[in-house]
């Protein structure tokens, strides 16, 4: 009963780094010249591994390299990996939006993909017209849509507005309608990318329920890509972990999730300086209340100390934004210099940016820090890394009572509080 329904064989995908512009034509000509003589594409031999922390050595990069996996009929396969590990590229190939540079995917079923809900929605058309248009774009025939029309409208909860142009819809309604169409697709293989991260809580529950129906009751094959480890755990039957464009692990869901989480922690050795176009990061430190590089304490002060070297400091107006993510890559909070009007034109090439927090309120745990260095004058990103640095918060004597709040009971955030009992 468990036949292979989809087989990925040695899939590799090469991208060219930098701008497509001058040089494109010469590479094209060179490629063509090799082909005419019956030789192999010269640019396939080169290309760096997909690892953002290293500086690019070649103009070409392998976003995916020799990916092999099988999917069996009825599987719900979770594809997990860090940002930039190649998940989206793999999805694009699976959904036939682009082709692999080498290798092939063979499939026995029709694939429908949900890389984004509401693709092709036209604001001027009514909800009902958009159901037909969107359904057809996703590969349904008119007859199929007609048969499910009532069901879709019902599921979306937009029955009242169904003959109103979609431009009058709230964004939430638009997403509901779009997901409703998508959820009623009946392909043999469904490819889903994080569509669950939309809509209100009630709708998310409905959406996860529908996903479970599709995979569980209907026994359909689903490929699911997500950052949400909880959703992966509850939906998937198997997992594939991608790392730097390669399959790092393949196996059961729980094993895959824990492999992914453990890999994430041990992979953190940042070498300074980190170069980027227009400058470099000289150093970065997370300092505790004593000014030491160590774990942070709940309720104490701490500092994020960043030193940059910017090549043209007079021209740039730098803004620094940190984002704190938890282990499951959920955004917890943001530290943005712009919110405090703390960005100005720099005076010298080397500059320290110190962000101080007086009273750290993050629950104990390990967090990863993302960084965005932006030039406000040129509206240009100098450097962006969602997984820049890891730090750990330990429980502390927040209320000076000697009672340390335990990790499990806090949740994400511990507020300052006063209790008056009359």
């Amino acid at each position: 009963m468990n036949n292979i329904i989809l087989k990925a064989e040695n899939i590799s995908k090469q991208y060219r780094l930098g701008l497509v512009g001058t040089g494109t034509m010469s590479h094209d000509l060179n490629r063509w010249w090799h082909r005419v003589r019956g030789k192999e594409d010269p640019y396939l031999k080169i290309g760096a591994e997909n690892d953002r922390s290293k500086k690019a050595e070649s103009d070409y990069v392998w976003a995916l390299r020799d990916i092999n996996f099988d999917v069996y009929d009825g599987d719900v396969l979770g594809i997990i990996g860090k940002n930039g590990a190649g998940k989206s590229t793999l999805l694009k190939i699976l959904s036939r939006v682009t082709t692999p540079t080498t290798g092939s995917i063979k499939t026995k079923g029709r694939i429908a993909s949900l890389l984004e809900v509401g693709t092709g929605f036209h604001p001027e058309l009514t909800g009902r017209e958009n159901i037909y248009l969107n359904g057809a774009i996703l590969g349904m025939t008119k007859g199929e849509i007609k048969a499910k029309e009532e069901e879709i409208i019902d599921f979306s909860g937009c029955a009242m507005y169904i003959d109103t142009p979609v431009k009058r819809y709230s964004s939430g309604m638009r997403v509901r309608l779009a997901f409703a169409v998508a959820a009623h697709l009946e392909p043999d293989i469904l490819v889903v990318d994080e569509v669950l991260a939309v809509g209100d809580a009630e709708f998310q529950k409905k959406a996860i329920g529908k996903m479970k129906d599709i995979s569980g009751n209907d026994g359909r094959t689903v490929l699911f890509v997500s950052h949400n480890m909880a959703a992966v755990k509850s939906l998937c039957t198997r997992g594939v972990v991608l790392e730097n464009g390669k399959v790092a692990f393949e196996g059961g869901t729980d094993e895959s999730v824990s492999f992914y989480l453990s890999k994430k922690e041990e992979n953190k050795l940042v070498n300074f300086p980190i170069l980027f176009e227009g400058g470099q990061i000289n150093s970065f430190e997370v300092l505790d209340f004593m000014g030491n590089e160590s774990n942070l304490l709940l309720g104490e002060s701490c500092k994020f100390n960043l030193q940059l070297r910017i090549k043209n400091p007079k021209k740039a107006k730098i803004n620094i934004r940190y984002q704190v993510f938890d282990k499951e890559e959920k955004l917890i909070t943001t530290l943005n210099a712009m919110h405090l009007n703390a960005n100005k034109v720099l005076k010298s090439e080397i500059q320290n940016f110190v962000c101080s927090i007086n009273n750290l309120r993050l629950a104990p745990g390990t967090y990863s820090l993302g960084i965005v260095i932006l030039d406000l004058n040129l509206r240009k990103y100098f450097y962006k890394n969602n997984d820049f640095y890891d730090f750990t918060v330990e429980s502390g004597d927040v209320f000076k009572t000697g009672k340390l709040p335990s990790k499990e009971n806090i949740g994400v955030y511990l507020s300052d509080q006063d209790w008056n009992i009359d």
């Binding site: 009963m1 468990n2 036949n3 292979i4 087989k7 991208y15 497509v20 494109t24 034509m25 094209d28 069996y72 694009k92 190939i93 699976l94 959904s95 036939r96 939006v97 682009t98 082709t99 692999p100 540079t101 080498t102 290798g103 092939s104 995917i105 063979k106 499939t107 026995k108 079923g109 029709r110 993909s113 890389l115 984004e116 693709t119 092709g120 036209h122 001027e124 058309l125 017209e129 037909y132 248009l133 057809a136 774009i137 996703l138 590969g139 025939t141 008119k142």
Partner: protein, 287 residues
Amino acid sequence: MNKTESKEWLYEINSEKSLFDFNFKEIWRYKDLLVLFVKRDIVTVYKQTVLGPLWFLIQPLFTSVIFTLVFNNVANIQTGTVPSFLFNLAGITAWTYFKECLTGTSNTFTKNASIFGKVYFPRVIMPMSITVSNLLKLGIQLSIFIGFYIYFVLSGSPVNPNANLVLFPAYVFIMGTTGLGLGMILSAMTTKYRDLTVLIGFGVQLLMYISAVPFPMGEILEKKPEYFWVFKYNPLAQIIEGFRYMTLDTGMFTWWGFFYALGFSLVVFFLGLGIFNRTEKSFVDTV
């Protein structure tokens, strides 16, 4: 578990590109999408405009008036017994359909990059739907042409169609396929080299003049016979001249010219389809 692996794959995703690998079965499967795209284009194009579909009429009318003033009154180009205004209107109506098909399809990839980057369907549906929805515009513009035609006939001008009128569907077909074919070739090329988008705008303008839109081909033969070959071998000039010949019974018509244009349109169409197919597989990476 019994894991068998049979050889009957439904399809394969790889990077092999063959120029003539059309999946007509698949295009047929998506015919409903074609219909819906056409419907969408027609319904939405003049939403929130005051004049609505009247814009379809204003364009050819004003152009014809200008052409009549410039070419016939000022430059004194003779259109025989046919009223110059009607002569220009006929040429412009036919030319507009070709032009709209060409310019509408030539930016298929760049304009639809966001949809194409998210979901797969046979990309060729998009330019095809544009060609079909342009048929409606052609219909509206033909009705104004017919209106003026009747007016001129009633006011005693010596205009009449001839037996070639039965070729009318063939002419529409040739114009559509030539526009679509050239448009597909250009759309494939603009994904990588954007310079072409600049070129298309004024290239189409120039093309109009060497396609004998504002003057009869006979005029060239008479005044500049050494350049006549440009018009003779330009299939578009043959189409425009042929269109005027069947509706107004004026100008030069040869069966050679007709079949030359028909052959050209088929070659361009299949060539365009091939290039388009090759591009659609991986254009997302270059757009």
